[in-house]
Symmetry: D2
Subunit: 388 residues, 4 copies
């Protein structure tokens, strides 16, 4: 039988990290639809993140993106965040928006550009020191658009050299998270296209380096929960970038496209004992709210992760194991689906009430007046987006 | 046996339409890398298109995009083009970049926005009258990002109404081309996602409405040449937007990702008797040269289409039919591959020489000084891109 | 607000058709794992189908497959079925297992083989007359494995001719259902690969011809509910073959791979007013229970369809329309998801109890002794499979 | 400039391994179309393989499949092969066709079944000792069809244990090749689904264990040449199973679906210095000739690999590197495409003539009378297929 108290404890302890850039404007190559009230500064992004935490209780960390969140005084930014009840999480690097990076950053055939890109990684580690961040998150858009454009293998050598240099700079409890992505913006070959590539590099780097799974970065039909289970077994899963997709890297709200998949992913997390924040996995969101209102979309996303987690925790593990061991395919599947088919919203409402929160974060946010306030206040200046 | 003289005549008569916007800056949602020498005006785009035609001899038409190519005097723009040796081709509409279109244009739940979008279509038809264009090309980014966001079927009704209104405005030899696309920028459901949807609407509209196939707009594994063959049989294929892709709508140079597929497509065109300009199919390019130099990339793309066409023309149709009729799978495939495996570059060099062109358009372009000239001349002003 | 009584009525009236061959052995090209107790005759298959109906109350129809279910006296078979409480549903044709069909059946380059295949279709219509079946279900494996192997367009002409001949033979309330499939067993081009092809042929044939959607027969990323909505709008949706898949035509239990997708499909059915049996859509299962026990797997599948239907019926249509019309993306999605996140198992238990059934069909089946009985009784003879 | 003599030497030295089972009957789950003249014994399969070698000169190795090629005296079988001019290559294991393996072989929850499966691996190693084979090729169909059916991670532990036991039994120059496959016959999760999983296991096993890439076993859009380049860099690429596909594991003739992809793969082989047999990569075919004549299909496949290899060897590496280093995207791609667009059939005809072979192996085979002979001789007995 499921221990409901333990389930509630686990749900109460859950921590989800939201990304500063999700509060800013985003779009597709066709159009960025600006929204009123969007933050203009890193501080305003953090304020929005703190608001999400205020209504959900499980989002106490906000990830930054450099240079989009560049400030003069990171220590002050950290204090500002703590005063609002959140802390600075992963530092995300950006080596894809400078003109120099047209043909690659750390894998560019030009040694000078590689130097510049690698220096940016080192700078991000310095910032980590100032913000107290644990995680350096690396995503490289590096790749090529045409067969023959560059040498696939040389680019791996260059990548390995840059990763090594950054890795060796890490100190204390600092870690490196290496994200992979099948394609976009590179359209023929991406230098870190899949989990195997990221895993192989992390293994060579050492134990501080682990893989970051972005749930929207796979080929069609990829079984993501298998990757989760496998990397947990290898002790090389470090983080998630949660979002959902129907096609490619759509960056929709997590759980919106395939809630059953999210449940299966969270089940592997629970089964692997990796839900506990002490295990060290960073559960981040990485989404684009192109057409929907951003803050409630992020609140909704946090709730979707909570619901999938609650269902995963409700799986009757003893019954499941018994059915699996006896080879009863239908019964094992039924036990698994019983948890998924449970309506966990009342349970989560209880968890929130127990924590002194409104049981319905969306309603509460809407009633709070925050949305109206930022719309009224944030007038003038330049809205934040992917470019700044 | 293949009639080589007939092959040469067909290659000489071939017409490929290049798009004005491919000469402008383009990129991904992550970054637009601007290039030196990029046009700042519709006239400069047309000059570039004329340059491509000057070196290839088979690209005498340039498609416009409204409002990106908006001018006060379209008749004057047409004269300008003709003076440079090219004519204005399809008029492409844009109902995806105005803030009003965040939730759709002609399928928007808001009637006022639908009216505005439909009026833009009518405006484009007016422009066609002024430029003498035959083709109204319609691509709708319309769709929704989340299940439940809007009613799928109501949106079809709205779409049909707008198409009908535009269709009824067509006069003379004017036609409507309806493009489809699986996804992007809509990430859950697109209102014209596949050829079947476009075909069904075109059929209801009437004989002036035909389907436009963009070779990058399909689900993985889609057999595009089947669609070509099928639409030709139904007399509903009106145009191509050529480009190539490895993943999604990558918009790489046509023939760069899968030259064998391009050959198979062109074979169905040849087999269907549809290569001749008199048949009425518009063979357009629609590509993004994000990292490579634009004009030579377009020249290369034109050459890739020519090479695929030449191979298609070289298929020994009698031998093929004989093998097919006798059920000799290997022989039929071998006949087909014999044409594909032929190196047609010498043949095309001859065709060009016969037409008074340099047999190697790329080398000739590079030697012409045009690239250096536009780089030096086009300084200041605002470079054209997808936004203007 | 949702009218619960109406929801229950709709669920009570629902009809799902199970296929005779799903009770027989099936497998992959690598291995067919035979199961004890599998039927050896059409009668035993019908007895199993009747058992599924006995425990679910919504599966009163069983589809046959000719020649797998060939008998001397179809009228007697129909009586046998009726005595067990079920009726004969669609007659499925088989023009893919005779050696003659190696290169195609109705699209074969050999006219004699086309004649033989078309005659089989006519034979099936004769059988329909004897069984009182309304639906002729056509799936053609026809296609080619290699580019050039046969002429894509000629094959369409041959297909159209065979369909026409069969269509013209239909009388009374008889209908033709034309199924499509992306690939397998043809691996380069399939003659009816997508809904557009099936739709175009059905449109030309006439109003008795409609499209059958097999939920496992699409390219990756295809939005199936869009096709449902579109075909309903065109009044050309005739049937489903339900199953589920993670990769290709996996033929798993419907609802097992993506229950949210099944819900979205059933929502379009409900929204289109097409759930009512009077509308005329045949909701069939078409699955392979390769490793799981067959009868309970089919019961489970029926229940999965019921649950998706119940959720679809629970969508608050007024609230949804209001949110959609006002452009509130998040609220519209939330209304939609509220229905999906509801645990409808208690509601369905009530519906069953009201109908005098055990609220848990799986438990009831397991307790019934039927499984033990068929295992003990069906010894000797030749188990039915795809070949017989 | 390309050294043509070196190219010819490389082409002459090339070795391709053909699989015994490709000479036998094969099909899809829908139908196996038997062909006249198909081998009935391992000896007859080897005779066919020797025939392919006789006409191509580059296929001197034949892979066996146990138990399909089970004989009493493997040493005698080896002598028989050598007398015909070929040698025994990889020993392929089969732990997917026994009824016990319905829920898995080495990953089965049942320890007894795991023991049986592991013993089969050890038996295969014994056979290697008798045939003098270097390579143990392992493909596991193991996986699950339904979420929850079994524990993903436990199955990895079981897999690792079986691999370890087999690995430790290897002696001399014996190696283990671990193949991966995305899906089929498992339809939800496969235990070795991708190169990353195979790589991770091989790395833990030791240097005798390397990855086998089957070109048809990937998710759509996977960049296979990237995997080739990456594994070569990691010194973990051991073998290929060549075939081609448009959709899933179609097992068509290699080079038939995407000859440009095959060229790109072979380019990475050449660039990595791995074409030379001394490097140790086994270049095997693994195909199903379901509808085409088998021996000429295999000859054609060998020729397709040769053509892709010849083109890869013709890439002007100096010019390519220069263009890559200077960031000239179009020129680098053009250099690459120049090699691909070359018609290498005359070159290969020369290579064959130099080796005393007919320049056209297909024509020569057809003229040889072998096909007529086996059709006449191989009457009676049981044709070999996947089951025997």
């Amino acid at each position: 039988m499921t221990d409901l108290a333990a389930v509630k404890r686990a749900l109460t302890a859950q921590r989800i990290e939201t990304p500063s850039w999700a509060y800013a404007n985003s779009g597709t190559r066709f159009k960025v639809f600006a929204q009123p009230g969007v933050p203009r500064t890193p501080e305003e992004k953090i304020a929005d993140a703190a608001t999400v935490h205020r209504f959900t209780g499980v989002a106490p960390v906000v990830a930054l993106h450099i240079p989009w969140d560049k400030v003069d005084d990171y220590a002050a930014l950290g204090s500002y965040a703590r005063d609002l009840g959140v802390e600075i999480g992963a530092i995300n690097t950006n080596v894809f928006q400078d003109d120099d990076y047209k043909l690659g950053s750390v894998t560019n055939p030009d040694a000078g550009i590689r130097r510049k890109a690698t220096d940016h990684l080192l700078e991000a580690i310095d910032i980590m020191g100032q913000t107290g961040s644990r995680d350096l998150k690396l995503w490289f858009s590096d790749g090529i658009n045409y067969p023959g454009q560059d040498d696939l293998r040389d680019r791996q050598d260059r990548l390995a050299a840059a990763l090594r240099e950054a890795y060796d700079r890490l100190t204390g409890n600092q870690r490196m998270l290496l994200e992979y992505k099948l394609f976009e913006p590179a359209f023929y070959a991406t230098d870190v296209p899949d989990w195997g590539t990221s895993y192989a590099h992390c293994l060579e780097l050492g134990e501080r380096a682990t893989v970051c799974i972005d749930t929207g970065h796979h080929a069609p039909s990829t079984n993501i929960e298998f990757i989760v289970a496998f990397l947990l077994r290898q002790q090389k899963l470090g983080a998630f970038d949660f979002n959902s997709r129907f096609y490619a890297d759509d960056d929709l709200m997590v759980g919106a496209a395939d809630p059953f998949q999210l449940f299966r992913i969270m089940y592997e997390i629970v089964r692997g004992g990796a839900l506990d924040p002490a295990y060290g996995i960073a559960f981040m969101l990485d989404q684009c709210h192109n057409i929907e209102r951003k803050i409630p979309a992020i609140i909704r996303s946090v709730m979707n992760v909570q619901e999938a987690t609650a269902k995963a925790l409700l799986v009757d593990r003893d019954a499941l194991t018994k059915a699996q061991q006896s080879g009863d395919v239908l019964e094992a599947n039924a036990v698994f689906m019983d948890a998924y088919n449970t309506d966990v919203r009342p349970l989560l409402a209880e968890v929130r009430a127990d924590a002194g929160l409104d049981p319905n974060p969306i309603t509460a946010y809407r009633a709070s007046g925050y949305d109206e306030k930022i719309t009224a206040d944030r007038v003038g200046g330049t809205q934040a987006g992917w470019g700044a």
